[in-house]
Symmetry: C2
Subunit: 308 residues, 2 copies
């Protein structure tokens, strides 16, 4: 059992989908990652920042799931990062209606002493300069460093982002971002180019079309579970990252074979996350329910084949 250090935003989200809308609810990459990882009973801590408008109940929710919140800096007089968005009818695309960076604009991450030798470091989607700062504060190189990022940083902070990419073991990005980062349309070629930038493993997330894991010439594919309803996709990628790193932190086996399982675990948790608004489904998700759906994943993809 290792320890997982999570760096990422902690936020308010206000979400509109074809099925309804929310007021400000708990959002940001770090809570999704931490709640997903908590399903594997790992020790984890979040490095983040919020304003003093951030409700104690959200902090308690994280603590209650054994997430160390001591490195979530609460800025007195500050306001928490806020994102408002609206999903289109197919839920595959969305418009950002409002972004208030607030305290995140001046976020200066401080890694707590007891996590400076964490086995796994999960860099949630955030300014690459923040990610670099966290990497440099680690006293021991983590066994595994996983990076999530997005097209915004490719557009606005590419040099720093490339610096981060050169230092990580795994990068998780979506298919469009992989194409943008590599300049290659073929995801096989894109992965090869991104591999050359540093990461040994490339995870390309394709939303409802599943996720690909690349290591050199090796490829593994995990589908997304076909669902009757997708209610709210917010946080699906972060939940995937939390399941992925949570499983690896628990098992401490960073081989390609075990990483395949981690991809399935991440996809499995993400399939729950989209069933309710925000983190609601993750909050109420027991082990037996997770296990049953893992069995569904297995049935969905496993086959025997012989030459005929």
């Amino acid at each position: 059992m290792g320890r997982l250090l999570i760096v990422g935003s902690v936020a308010f989200d206000a979400i509109e989908t074809p099925f309804g809308k929310t007021d400000k609810i708990l959002g940001g990459a770090a809570p999704f990652i931490a709640l997903a990882a908590s399903k594997f009973n790992v020790e984890s801590a979040i490095v983040s920042v919020v304003g003093d408008d951030f409700p104690q109940e959200y902090l308690d929710l994280l603590s209650d799931n054994d997430v160390d919140i001591s490195a979530i800096n609460i800025v007195q007089g500050g306001k928490t990062f806020f994102w408002r968005g609206r999903y289109h009818n197919d839920l595959n695309s969305r418009d950002t209606l409002e972004t208030q960076l607030n305290v995140l604009a001046d976020f200066n991450p401080i890694v707590p002493d007891q996590y400076k030798d964490a086995e796994v470091l999960m860099l949630g989607n955030l300014n690459p300069s923040v990610q670099l700062s966290v990497i440099s504060q680690m006293e021991k190189k983590p066994k595994l460093t996983v990076l999530d990022t997005m097209n915004f940083w490719m557009d606005n902070a590419l040099d720093e982002l490339l610096e981060v990419i050169a230092k990580v073991d795994v990068i998780t990005i979506n298919d469009e971002e992989a194409r943008q980062l590599s300049g290659e349309y073929s995801l096989v070629k894109a992965a090869a180019k991104i591999h050359a930038m540093g990461p040994k493993y490339i995870v390309i997330k394709k939303g409802e079309h599943g996720a690909l894991l690349f290591q050199g010439e090796e490829i593994f594919f995990a589908p997304a579970l076909p669902l009757k309803e997708v209610f709210d996709p917010t946080g699906a990628g972060d939940t995937f990252a939390g399941g992925f790193t949570g499983y690896l932190t628990k098992t401490q086996d960073y081989s390609f074979e075990n990483m395949k399982k981690a991809v399935v675990q991440g996809s499995n948790l993400a399939s729950f996350n989209v069933e309710k608004f925000g983190t609601e489904r993750l909050q109420n998700l027991d082990t037996m329910t997770i296990y049953r759906r893992l069995e569904q994943f297995k049935k969905l993809t496993q086959f025997d084949i012989e030459l005929s």
Copy 2:
């Protein structure tokens, strides 16, 4: 070992992709289906029509692969169906530049006597009235009838198409067509509605994102093999259908378990087909090469998972 009856167009295609263009080459649903099915050494026959402009070498190619071509009607003084299209840069969409129905406009299919009790009937994408005529000519209900169709018939001949759909065991359509036919965005819901129209099994093809097989609540997913280059997607769906029905005709096991394998076999052959123009890759594809890629498919998707 059963026999496979294939109904479908036999055509000239002229194709433009970002990688090159062809003059008139062998195209149409039936040749792709038959060449793919021939990899399983099944007895098969094509019911179709061409003009007297159709080259003997294309007919020989089919014969040489043990496809019975006696029910391909050669209309003297007629011209063969011709399609010209241009693929966009991402190869996921295309424009039809020219369609000449020619002899296909008056196609009156005649099922040869020795195939009126074929075990498997593959209805390639074609006018539903032609498909209905073939179904009605069968003296014995086939063990398995598989229908391929497209949005054009949903737009222009929906009533007849629904009549066909009510009579078949398996329908294969792409994701957009499944949505159009069912009025449901979720593919799980779409499959349930299409199931209620008649077919016991629904195959939803998602191109580069793989294929889903539905039977009631059961779902199986086969990915498309991630490829460095897709050269020409023409005929990928027909090749899938040919591999699918060829495998089932050979094994004569129409269970869900065996149909999973058939989906993988179809996906495997389709992954070859897109590597060259038209049927070129299928023409030169040996058993060992097919087998090796099946092993790749297995590695791509198979995993062990335990509850952690």
